[in-house]
Amino acid sequence: MSDPKQAIMDQVRQQAALSNARALIEKVNEHCFERCVPKPGSSLSSAETTCYTYCMEKYMASWNTVSRQYLGHVQQGVQGQAAFGAF
């Protein structure tokens, strides 16, 4: 049988990654549907599909920028006052 400690850790990591991905997909769809499909037609047009691709990339780029910026604050907070990231 595999190491129970390792098994738990793997499962926690996997769950965390899954819920992170799920949150991202949900947000991307929410924003991009709003922006790219203002008037839903009988099918997704090629313009809408292109917009969706750009929008997805843009949202993920935004996520990365926010992540970098926010982590900078959190790290500063840890040096000054502990756990400012936990609001």
Partner: protein, 95 residues
């Protein structure tokens, strides 16, 4: 986070963990919880700031030269605003 059914074998194995392994797991879970909290803040900040900063027609995948600094300032100002609230609450408490 979603509820995950644990393998009964794993649960059984957990009972026989050494004190050190238990300590390790505790530290690990705590760190993962903190990570999840930070990630969820990043999600909600991205949501808010995307709404504020990405207002023109979406015609490229990259953030343009207005959007990128706007996203950065959005995070910075959000933190400032958050600080104002905390300071104000502290002030109210001491009155």
């Amino acid at each position: 986070m979603d509820q995950a059914a644990l393998d009964p074998q794993v649960v059984e194995g957990l009972k026989n963990l050494s004190a050190k392994d238990k300590q390790d797991l505790n530290t690990f879970i705590q760190a993962e919880g903190q990570k999840a909290q930070i990630q969820s803040t990043i999600h909600s900040l991205t949501d808010t700031c995307f709404r504020k900063c990405i207002t023109s027609k979406i015609s490229a995948g990259k953030l343009d030269r207005y959007e990128e600094p706007c996203m950065q300032s959005c995070v910075d100002r959000f933190m400032d605003a958050n600080m104002v609230v905390i300071k104000h609450l502290e002030q109210m408490r001491s009155q």
